[in-house]
Symmetry: C2
């Protein structure tokens, strides 16, 4: 077991799934048992729970790899070629056990406190719905997506490519809310969102709570979302209300958001101060290291994955540029020696969305190494290799993300 | 019961749902019983079957109005504000009982014959998949959507607004197929698609088959689709393969398509020759009347529908321009006296898609008549009234499509 902040892992015991407020607050014995579980290292394959936890039971089991109760990955072969990821195939990653599912019984009654504005207020979702609305397609991706490819065994969920999906979010632009409350107070540099999960007694809240700060430049695109893919935001994905920051890594998209504060400094919660920091292998996290904010340009092949057929094959994949629109995707079928342009497939849902791509290729018998490389409109391109870092964050190297296809 | 072509109605008896090939071919007695059912007028409310038929049992029952076994409408309140209609909420309209569900067991094996090209061929879906691919969002709408608003009691399913949805289709561009087979033969003016439904014995096939002709200008956008909303095309919606003609009324989007022919003339099948023809009330259908091809510009409000609240309300709706992109949508809350521009919500999925729209309004107590009016980029706008016609086709008058909202 690594000496690493436990928060970045989340609990792995199925017994912790979706606890009621009562069960997590039954006292120090129960609370400490829960907390100790947060320190477990990742499950071995033998320990992997095979069924969906209660709070995600509506998901399509066959589309998912269940790493733990709070971490479920979309199978590479289930990602498809669509511009939007179906909700029941979307990955799940909770940093803490979710609050009771009953929080979505009356979504409009959920309250969020807004601080750091001239007129701070507590607003219900019902009130937010009359303040403004936007619908934005954006990629939701875990910071550790691709972690499984790091040879040093970066701790955390061993995501391959499926801790990502492209989602249609609907909610009020955060800027509309800030403006309605008189605008930001002077000197703020961060948007700090706080999750509404129940915290166990007997633990320093800062060591465990989900509270993230992102730069105020994200006010241009951030929203408080109450719907996902044209359905009320499911409890599994942070309903009734989630802070959505298009183009930012998943952890910044705070679920069950109960407070938004415009702040001068970043929160000192552990998940921000030392968690989700990019640093060399073996180093501890600290606030001076880069935080996992804007996503980098990335792509991967979704089909074929193992076997192709002699002759014409269509190679499919998905690509995105984080906060920057895509320019192009190139595909190589010889491991990166020669590249050809792929074609985008389907409508462009905007700069934060992913774009499915396709390329026709004629295969002879043998093994073919298919890799893809995306470039955004600012000229940023995927590197060939990985950039080693302690927790295996932000991997967008094209080589590791390729697939080897055998043609008989 | 009207003296009208039976084909435009479809069978209404739940017992006819999804018959096996055997049951429909058991001989003249069974066949004639089936055929006689095709002549039934629409069900009265008392006769309405309340449960989903077998071939559509995966649909979200609460989102639908079940008119008959082969006609299910999306509830106005279930249309939502999304750019895409979820498959389980999409309306269903079959002109004939669907073929056995087993046709989608091995979708790649489905065959379609292509005629009217220099090298006619029978192609499997598997072969089509290597010939090209496109993904297009387009509105699927029944020709009779809005029929319920005609005061003369136009016969046919009494659709209100919900015989429409916006769908993401994936398949091969029809032009790619035609090009691969040497191009069109000389003199063709129509694309004629034939459905793969089983036909009962003892009836002239032309009187009952689903075979539609559309002008060859549709080659610019038509596709042979094997997927809908990034899933294999469901049997319920014409899988394994459907001719999709973006911007054209639903009937032209031939399900279970087994033949595509480029032809000099329109088919003489009844569904084309006399069915789906716009004519004055009381007239019979004939080939010299306009056929239901390109859809006209249209919009309607989806929320609120009955009650609003004092103060700020968000009015939502959907709008589309058929084959022409939208320019704008205006909304009136006083029955059409004063109009204000609405704002489009969410990404633009292209000229054939619908666009959700939203407008904020402050309501005082009383009744408010909300109407919406869309205009396309060629300047075509919805008329105020309906254009009376025998079968109640193509209704896009803004007045009938409005809603009256009470604020207490």
């Amino acid at each position: 077991m690594k000496t690493e902040t436990t928060l970045e892992r989340g609990p792995n015991d199925p017994g912790l799934a979706n606890p009621s407020r009562r069960s997590i607050l039954i006292g120090s014995a129960g609370a400490m048992a829960a907390v100790s579980l947060l320190g477990f290292s990742r499950l071995s394959a033998a320990e992997e729970p095979k069924s969906l936890p209660d709070y995600a039971v509506w998901k399509e089991r066959s589309a998912l790899i269940i790493h733990s109760t709070n971490t479920m990955e979309t199978q590479r072969g289930a990602i498809g070629n669509g511009v939007i990821t179906a909700s029941d195939r979307l990955f799940v990653r909770n940093n803490l056990p979710a609050p009771p599912a009953s929080v979505t019984d009356n979504p409009d009654a959920w309250e969020v406190r807004v601080e750091g504005v001239k007129n701070p207020r507590t607003l219900t979702v019902g009130e937010l719905k009359s303040m403004g609305v936007t619908t934005v397609a954006s990629v939701l991706q875990c910071s550790g997506n691709g972690r499984a490819f790091f040879p040093h065994g970066a701790s955390g969920t061993q995501w391959s490519v499926g801790a990502a999906g492209c989602v249609m979010w609907t909610g009020v632009p955060l800027r509309d809310v800030v403006d309605a409350l008189g605008g930001a107070v002077d000197g703020v540099r961060y948007i700090t969102g706080t999750g509404g999960e129940s915290l166990p007694d007997g633990v320093d809240p800062k060591s465990i709570m989900v509270e993230r700060s992102i730069p105020t430049r994200a006010l241009d695109s951030a929203l408080l979302a109450w719907a996902m893919n044209d359905e009320p935001l499911p409890h599994t994905h942070g309903g009734p209300l989630r802070l959505v920051v298009p183009g930012y890594y998943g952890v910044n998209n705070v679920k069950y958001v109960k407070q938004i504060a415009l702040t001068e400094n970043q929160t000192d919660a552990k998940i921000q101060a030392s968690g989700y920091r990019v640093r060399d292998v073996g180093m501890k996290g600290s606030p001076d290291q880069p935080s996992m904010w804007e996503m980098n340009v990335k792509s991967w092949v979704t089909s074929p994955l193992e076997s192709g057929r002699k002759g014409r094959n269509m190679i499919y994949g998905v690509a995105f540029g984080g906060t920057v629109a895509l320019d192009k995707v190139e595909v190589s079928t010889d491991g990166g020696k020669n590249w050809k342009p792929a074609r985008f497939l389907g409508p462009d849902l905007g700069p934060f969305a992913w774009r499915p791509f396709v390329m026709a290729v004629d295969f002879g018998p043998g093994e073919h190494r298919i890799v893809s490389k995306a470039t955004d409109v600012e000229g940023n391109s995927q590197p060939e290799g990985r950039i080693d870092n302690e927790r295996g964050y932000g991997h967008n190297g094209w080589s590791d993300h390729g697939v080897t296809v055998t043609v008989g």
